[in-house]
Amino acid sequence: MLQKHFYVIILVFSLLRSAGAQERVDFNRDVRPILAAACFHCHGPDANHREADLRLDDRANAHADRDGSPVIVAGDPSSSTIWQRITSEDEDERMPPLETKKELSTAQRDIIRRWLEQGAVYDTHWSFQAAERPALPTIQRVESATNPIDYFVLAGLEKRGRKPTKQADRETIIRRVTFDLTGLPPTLEEIDRFLDDTQPHAYERLVERLLSSQAFGERMALTWMDAARYGDTSVYHADGPRNMWPWRDWVINAYNNNKPFDEFTIEQLAGDLIPGDDVRAKIASGFNRNHGTTDEGGAIDEEYRVEYVVDRVKTVSTIWLGLTMECGQCHDHKYDPLTQREYYQFFAFFNQTEDRGMQTRNGNAKPFVDVPNFRDQRLLKEREPVLATATRALASRRSAAESSFQSWQSTTEPDLRRLPPNDAVAHLPLDAAKTAEYRDLVNSDGKITANGETESVQAHHGRGLKLQAKGFLEVSAVGDFDNDDEFSYGAWLKLAKNSSGAAIAKMDTAQSFRGYDLHVQGRKFAAHIIHSWPDKAIKVVTKKDFAPNQWRHVFVTYDGSSKASGVKLYVDGKEEEWTIEQDGLTSTIRTDKQLRIGRREKGSEFRGEIDDIYLFERTLSPEEITAISGRDPIQPILKIATGDRTADQVNILRDHYLNTIDEKYIVLRKTQERISKEVDALRKPITTVMVMKDMGKPRMTHILERGSYASPRKDEAIEPGTPAFLHTSDQYPKSRLGMAQWLVDPKNPLTARVTVNRYWYQLFGHGLVESMEDFGSQGSFPSHPELLDWLAVEFIESDWNVKHIWRTIVTSSTYRQSSRVDKEQVPSDPANLLLARGPRFRLSGEAIRDQALAVSGLLVRQLGGPGVKPYQPAGLWNEVSLSGNVRFKQDSGEKLYRRGMYTYWKRSAPAPTYMIFDAPTREKCAVRRARTNTPLQALVTLNDEQFIEASRVFAQRVLSDGGATWEEQAVFAYRLATSRRPTDLAIRVIRRVWQSEKTKYTARPDLADLLLKIGDYPLGKQDKTDLAAWSIVANLLLNLDQTLTRE
């Protein structure tokens, strides 16, 4: 970046030189930058730090008379205090003061002098003036221009006596534009089709194809993810996982559908506030939940909540306005006319949201919304009618089967074995409204006493008993069984979270637990039958766990054998597998203690609900237990005479008949259920995504003293609002929605300029305004102001048509120039700010990896979905993670070969392959990436497992698809990597490397084996020494300057 500033300096100097010293100075281009850098800090917008009540950013103040000693006298430098002070010989007098170390150069002073001479004219800062569409300049080389962009660029070149470079050849331009619009290399078929397309407008057709490919959205989204600080983790402290990828997928789709930039803006900043409750717009509002959040135990909630709001202001002002608004957090802006109050007015738009300072380290923090399965909406639309048809077919079969059902129901006899037994020795239905009124239906003489906290509550059918602290029932004179008796007992139970205890027990705890019980043990059921605990006892426990808070029918049968094998446990009418814990019962279990519901004689208190208790003096059959549990409602109904059955009972029989006897119905039902399940799955939300949501009652905003959350100036409430120096927002609601609409108001002088400037940067490697993040007075002056304005107006007037702007730029002659560097022109314009040649720069880390996957054929082109975890060196997460226990778990299969933009982004330890290639950590908004060349990058593409595997699979592809001869294979490989035909030299070098390595691996097949083992992708069947040698060639080709660079 510094080096770019430096080039700007050179350019500006050369512009001035060529234009001659007497040319009029331009306040915005020439003077404001000097005043901003050297003077505004003390003589600028910040009222609190203003010296001598002088504002050099304000014409009226600067030109004021000041009791006869004016700072500025138009046309007369020597009478102007400003000139006297900046040229003073006296170090104490001279401005800027020595200690600020902002000394003015001779050249800068000269500009000030000429400005004063020429009348000290002021002008509103250029970027705060609305853009107007400039007239096209007159140029000589009209034939070199394709569209208006070229007029502005050529005018600049011609003014300096320079020429554009010739247009790039077809092999070069298809590679350039394919990478620029999709982030991927062109395939050989695409190249050949383009080279063979002799019709006019072949290039324009190519551009259309690329703009409509799904990869366009992916490429655009990647840059937007940097700006929107997108990540798959929460950043602060534990940096735990979260699911924001549905937001990222929304962005991809928005670009692919060419959503106008104004809508794109409004939905992301205020999608939750748009009337209509559109879930997609809500997902879009996740934009402002992408920031880092904390979960640190000691953190103070408000401190972080404020931090998040500050982050939103900074992100929005950087991306849309190109302003450094964050300066206003602590004081009035030093350089731009933004007061601290205005900062907090803007802050107030974002200060109304529900989300808290302390969030989670595991998943999404509130507020969030369910994300419907958009991807399969079309499938859902297809399947829904199929389901309706299947459901109708089922209904018509139901009618058609009615007569056969009627004959079945009148002729079928009940199966007596399946009827509930009527020989219980005790049955406590527990249906009374008061526990005092409980009765044993069998043994009406028996006494039931309620103790402790017992309560009659609504049970699964009828009422039941709820037992709380020390609550239990005692039932007299029942259940007096011995170890050689057969008996069965059980009830309906509803477990609480911790119900452990005896639900039914007749047990003398004082006498080594003699007796029996039905015991709840955590989430398992158990039966004890005990002479003396533990060795002379039976204990069996279910293997399965049963979740609490559901009614379950639990029954124990015992056959009097004194063996564990004689005990069965039934849950919901089904015999459960159990584990034997004790099996040594030898003699009597008889005790004179009474039967208790909810505890033993002492202790083992059961907490939960219980209903319908039965005791039998025999072993019940499985069918009887099913009948008791109500799981077989059919037999009792069949027992009723046909004419006496109620409508409900007939319905139960009909369902039973259709579902178990009518074969046609059974087939139709299975089909319908399958489709129904499928449709249900498609309707199910796939995940959640965090969204913006304003509080019901707005939060009051105050100015924060020095920006600190702990020092609000409570005496004054700040209402939401936009800065006064920009266009008005009076016509919009004072909400985030209104703020977003204001951002994309056509009168906004910044949004369109800032946005097209970023597009330009993406295509040319530098913006028309070099300081992409700062369009304020400290920012750079545009290299082509008219071009910037033309593009901005074009953007707005095309209804913010993103693809239109991209199409316009990439079809210009300026863009299509060859990037060949003319040795003559480099010294005068090394950064190519004048655009006399095509842009040439290194690809991003993502594109370099995607390219390796694409040319090897590994690339999986699935769009969207959760982040993926391809290869990365072991240990990188846990070496830095909280307590060292967050480990990276590598994915397998297709997830290893997705595009780089889908790589799981852990922001405390991001994937090194991309970090080494200058990716930002995405902890904060970043609208530019550096493009460095370091040896660490060379090591990635030489040695990273992903690239070695890609080299090997590339080799497999060359050998299988590359043609019959070695030469054909070499050309195929070279073209895949570089998109162009090899020169003779290239073929010679490839042959030499191939030959030497073929020799080496033939001598050392063990090394070939080692090399070919790398990576999960299956090894080809080709000769191993061939594969190894071609892998080395492939590795070489993937590291070529031409491969890593887009010309």
């Binding site: 100097f13 350089y335 083992k1013 590795n1035 070489l1036």
Partner: protein, 480 residues
Amino acid sequence: MDPIAVAHQNLTRRQLLSHAGRLCIGGAAFQQLLNAEQPVHAAGLPQLPHFRPQAKRVIYLFFSGGPSNIDTFDFKPALRNIHGTELPESIRNGQRLTGMTSGQKAFPCVAPMFKFQKHGQHGTYVSELLPQIASIVDEITILKTVNTEAINHDPAITFINTGTQQLGRPSMGAWLSYGLGSMNEDLPAYVVMISKGRGQSQALYSRLWGSGFLPSRHQGVRFRSGTDPVLFLANPPGIEADTRRRMLDGLAELNQENLDRFGDPETQARIAQYELAFRMQTSVPNLMDLSSEPKNVLDLYGPNAGKPGTFASNCILARRMAERGVSFIQLFHRGWDQHGNLPKLLRFQCEDIDHPAAGLVKDLKQRGMLDDTLVICGGEFGRTIYSQGALTENNHGRDHHGRCFTTWMAGAGVKRGFEYGVTDDYCYNIVRDPVHIRDLSATVLHQLGIDYKRLTFKHQGLEHRPTGVEPCRVVKEILV
């Protein structure tokens, strides 16, 4: 003559080179590519250093988690008298507490459960946990009044390493790489190594050694133990050095062809980039190979010196890097967050670092390198005098404390055998000579010949500097 033309001419060849044509790992440069009459190093800012530096390099031993100042250096016998008494409100004085102890009902003070003895010529108290450091107490300056506003790990460790609690700013090492460049073109200017103790490990983040808004080549490069000390350094299995060499020769030839065709200096840089990578494949393993270190040197660093990945091993590597011209070497040792079980866990942590840290200072000294190597040793904050959780006869914890904590420094013009700053009877507040962590940074920069006010980078319209916008000062009192 046209003054602007003069200004243009004044943009010297040297500035052009240092800005336009450089290629770096971290900050290493390749002036020779452009036929410059340059020294081997450079590629920093032309105006740096601002004045004659005392330190050529910095080794920063960073103890992550918040080591207890009270149990190591900031001892006063009167602490024994307040043991078990409630922390007076007049001392706490409205200090905000972390969410971990703000709900605690009692705040009983805890005197160290360790013995302290006076050491060195000035009778400096050092805990029994640090016998080796006690033996070099006459070499070091102990600052007892370092302080920070942050009270939780993430903000505190971000603050001390990047100059602010906000995210996105460059780390100190990145600033130095940017300002001073590198002294060795085969190695990065800024190296980070991490080791783990037995206590609770707080998280680290790449931002702690990140480049923030500076060009990303200035980010710290992590060196790790194992076959790939630098990520992706080793050739993959099955590719031997001769194969790699032949492949790189072919690559260079084809890149040269591309250079001839497009004439872009970036291609020239690319050719050099691959050669440097190849050289690193030899130079880095050499650097990491401790087999040439004699036993008496290894012994200086204690019994773990030969175990890769330990703090001791990292300390020797730090010395070896210092010898080879790495200018900022930062070791993170984790596990200093003793909210509970402090008497046991702090002992483990001190065992890890005592011998190696003292050994490093001794080793640098015996090689004559301590004179121009600045060693810094400390964490992101200290710990409270009061117990977190119950205070029992032999156990307690301590919560985070930012109002005062201890850092020690040695070498490169820092006073020898010196203590600076006084805390109150409760080791809770500063009585005299506060050193804000920004002051600490300013002082480190000063020793490197940098005026912290003049090392700036313009980002988003502001001239940023490593110490941020708040005022700070160089702590001249600790300098010779």
